[in-house]
């Protein structure tokens, strides 16, 4: 079998373009100068097809100069070479095989990473958080406290209520209430309650013992037991180390996804979505656990846990207050934006599912179930309740 045609040869040493005559012998490809002198001889088994524009066949060959090229535009000759060189496309095929492996194993890896992010990271955070020294929680809490005080918009009169002489009785009454709860809780860190001068209906726990009560929440309370219930719930977050846990979990998840996704389009958005989803799933459990803790703590001091559930239901039902008691322990970076976030909650569909709190009716039933029916006594007397409600001055 012999066929021949023309081609262009580059020797790979110089950039000289040589028009050549190509002869296809039994097992070799001969590259001949127009005068008949042989420039090179490539065994067919060593020919490799290289990437090229569609109108030409670009050949290299193993074992010689890696840059030597033979380009063939003669379609008939190209077809002949394709038919007779056995390993022509081996390199290309190998590359395709590698690519296929990459695609398949990336898919598998993504499934593993997703599963690990949703189940493994939270489980690990659960195990690791209790092992951390409490000083870590307190350090995180201090940083968060400073940030919130710097950025959170409050009403005129200072961030914290209870300092002036008019407000002092409220502060003392709240301290009595706090002391009863914290004595019963007996945590390794002191509980420090701060009343924030803001009509935002909320409470939140910082890691390491800090608790914020917003004035709006106190205004809406009908009894000291309701306030005590919320406080007990927040102490539950502190006791369960939810702040540290959330930090570990969020850090772990964004680390995993961030590094693997790298700089692909929308990578950051995917990380955020993954985090929101896994956090929502996770914080519902944290809220339920804090509710259980609150109910137990209230029972321990002989107080009625049920007002917590009632308070939650009332706040959720209230048309003027779309959703309340959004305590996000340790999640401080978005504290400044929370009021608008609360407004958005009026639309209840997907967002309500993403929001971290379980349905308040469900929470109420759960708290009621734990409460049982024992003889309960109010946690503080009526005078103290009135004082607490006026901790930020006269109700506006």
């Amino acid at each position: 079998m012999t066929s021949s045609g023309t081609g262009v040869f580059f020797d790979g040493l110089t950039s000289r373009r040589q028009d050549v005559h190509v002869a296809l012998q039994d097992a070799t490809l001969e590259i001949l100068r127009p005068d008949g002198a042989r420039l090179d001889m490539w065994p067919l088994g060593q020919l490799r097809e290289l990437s090229a524009p569609p109108e030409l066949l670009r050949l290299g060959h193993d074992g010689g100069n890696a840059l030597a090229r033979l380009e063939i535009r003669d379609r008939a000759l190209a077809a002949q070479i394709r038919a007779s060189a056995p390993r022509l496309t081996a390199a290309l095929a190998e590359e395709r095989g590698t690519t296929r492996k990459v695609v398949l194993w990336s898919l598998a890896a993504m499934v593993s990473v997703s599963l690990f992010t949703f189940y493994g990271v939270p489980a690990l955070a659960d195990r690791v958080a209790p092992l951390l020294p409490w000083s870590v929680d307190r350090h995180m809490g201090d940083i968060a406290d400073r940030q919130i005080r710097a950025v959170f918009p409050t009403d005129p009169g200072g961030f914290e209520c209870g300092a002036s002489s008019e407000e002092r009785p409220g502060r003392e009454a709240l301290d009595r209430l706090t002391k009863r709860l914290s004595d019963a809780a007996a945590l390794p860190v002191p509980i420090k309650v701060t009343v924030v001068r803001s009509d935002f209906v909320n409470a939140l726990a910082l890691p390491g013992g800090g608790v914020y009560l917003f004035r709006g929440l106190l205004d809406n309370a009908r009894s000291a037991d309701e306030i005590a219930g919320v406080l007990a719930h927040e102490i539950g977050h502190v006791a369960h180390r939810d702040g540290a846990r959330r930090a570990l979990q969020a850090g772990g998840a964004s680390l995993l996804f961030g590094f693997i996704l790298g700089d692909v389009v929308g990578g950051t958005a995917a990380i955020t979505i993954a985090r929101v989803l896994s956090e929502a799933h996770y914080s519902r459990a944290a809220e339920t656990n804090a509710d259980d803790y609150a109910a137990d703590l209230m029972k321990k001091i002989g107080a009625d846990p049920r007002p917590l559930g009632e308070f939650l239901s009332r706040l959720t039902e209230g048309a003027s207050e779309p959703e309340a008691d959004q305590d996000k322990a340790g999640k401080t970076d978005d504290a400044g934006e929370k009021p608008t976030e609360t407004e958005k909650r009026k639309e209840r569909s997907l967002q309500s599912w993403i929001s971290s709190h379980p349905e308040s009716e469900e929470r109420r039933r759960r708290v009621d179930a734990v409460a049982g029916d024992g003889p309960f006594s109010p946690v503080v007397d009526g005078a103290d309740f009135l004082a607490i409600q006026r901790i930020c001055g006269k109700p506006s």
Binding site: V8, F10, D11, G12, L13, T14, S15, R16, R17, L50, S51, A52, P53, L56, R58, A66, L67, A68, R69, E71, E95, T98, T99, V102, V103, S106, L107, A109, M110, I143, R146, A150, F259, I260, L261, G262, V264, V265, G266, G267, A269, A270, I273, L277, R348, S349, L350, S352, W353
Partner: protein
């Protein structure tokens, strides 16, 4: 007169690029689809395929370029970059956690400088990767020089640019391009860069002035009105229409890019071969305008389809369910997927109608003179491959 200049009377060689959007579409579509499915891992192979398309269809003097890079090389480069960047990221995260608020601000600035330095280093190394994977007529391009030196140079210039409010920017460009081009080789032929910062300054100065007028002008006019009669600016919205001038900025920017490219290409030479560029001022702007039009059409189509789907979902009550369930999970997952697909569609359109035409114009606006002399010079020195390509293949994975 026997004095004879090789450049005179010689006709230049104009490269051409033959790659239509239709031919590029399957590469981009398949690449982006797999990139979505693998959450980004495939992007190195995708990029390689796009480069093969772009390189392989550039024809210079009758012969096509060849791109010999491989996806796996880029992937390894990425892993190396990760190995360097992850500890750095960890240190930044840890230190910003430990330091107080003021310390954090100072530290963040230091970190920014470090990141700029690394980015410049990476850019230089990536250029080296692309050059060493480019072959024309069986001879490889090469880049010498040190990435660290280049990064240090860039950083020094960047500081100067900031200190002089951008005045020395043209000289920075000239200096950096000179460094890059004198370290560029085609076989044993060294590159050079002859354009100067002064030339770029002269050509760009008018545009810079125009920018100042467009940005500062309306503000100054409004401020003057406000001074004379307080409240005037708010009273008549017509004055605010002056800000429509801001729309000129993208045009100015695109024109500047064309000017800068022309300045750059005119200064480039390798051995005895020099480039001469006649790119029209509005050539790049045309590309951007075309891309903008395509994106607008695409967005309208997506908006219509998306609206229809949302309406159907709403009508079927899927969006109204508040309890978490399989339907909600499906909607969420679908939403994430749609987000990715749309983001990647924009990327695909950019490849097809942004990158490809710019690539084409970049080559076709250039005429190369002295190519035969380059061929002769190259041929006279048979020890052409002064740089062992095996070593380049083995150690250089700089193409992140």
């Amino acid at each position: 007169m026997t004095a004879w200049n090789a450049d005179q009377g010689e006709t230049g060689v104009r490269p051409s690029f033959q790659g239509s959007a239709g031919e590029m579409f399957p590469i981009v579509f398949k690449g982006l689809a797999l990139t979505v499915l693998t959450l980004g891992v495939y992007r190195f192979w995708y990029l390689t395929n796009v480069r093969r398309f772009l390189w392989n269809r550039v024809e210079v003097g009758g012969d096509y370029l060849e791109y010999t890079g491989r996806g796996v090389e880029l992937f390894i480069g990425f892993l190396i970059a990760l190995a360097v960047v992850i500890p750095l990221y960890g240190v930044i995260f840890f230190l910003s956690f430990l330091l107080g608020p003021i310390g954090t601000i100072v530290f963040q600035n230091v970190a920014t400088v470090a990141i700029i330095f690394l980015a410049q280093f990476a850019l230089f190394r990536a250029r080296r990767y692309r050059l060493t994977r480019t072959i024309w007529r069986g001879v490889r391009f090469q880049q010498t020089g040190s990435g660290l030196a280049y990064a240090a140079k860039s950083l020094g210039w960047a500081i100067l640019v900031i200190l002089t409010l951008g005045l020395v920017y043209p000289w920075m460009r000239a200096s950096l391009e000179r460094y890059k081009m004198t370290n560029t080789w085609y076989g044993d032929q060294q590159g050079a860069f002859s354009s100067t910062g002064g030339q770029l300054f002269k050509r760009g100065f008018l545009l810079w002035l125009l920018c100042v007028v467009v940005i500062v002008g309306p503000i100054a006019v409004l401020a003057a009105l406000e001074m004379r009669t307080p409240g005037a600016a708010q009273a008549s919205p017509a004055h605010a229409a002056l800000f429509v001038l801001f729309l000129l900025l993208p045009v100015v920017f695109a024109v500047y890019l064309a000017i800068e490219y022309r300045w750059w290409a005119n200064g480039c030479s390798i051995g005895p071969a020099a480039a001469s560029c006649d790119l029209g001022l509005f050539q790049f702007f045309k590309v951007y305008a075309g891309y903008f039009g395509v994106v607008l059409l695409f967005s309208m189509a997506v908006g219509a389809v998306g609206g229809l789907i949302a309406y159907l979902l709403h009508a079927n009550g899927v969006l109204q369910a508040t309890e978490p369930g399989p339907a909600q999970y499906a909607v969420m997952a679908g939403g994430v997927l749609v987000y990715f697909v749309i983001a990647l569609a924009f990327a695909a359109l950019w490849q097809l109608f942004g990158v490809r035409p710019i690539w084409r114009k970049s080559f076709e606006s250039v005429e190369i003179f002295g190519l035969p002399a380059l061929m002769a010079a190259q041929s006279q020195a048979p020890v052409a491959n002064a740089f062992g390509e095996g070593i380049a293949d083995a150690i250089d994975f700089g193409g992140f």
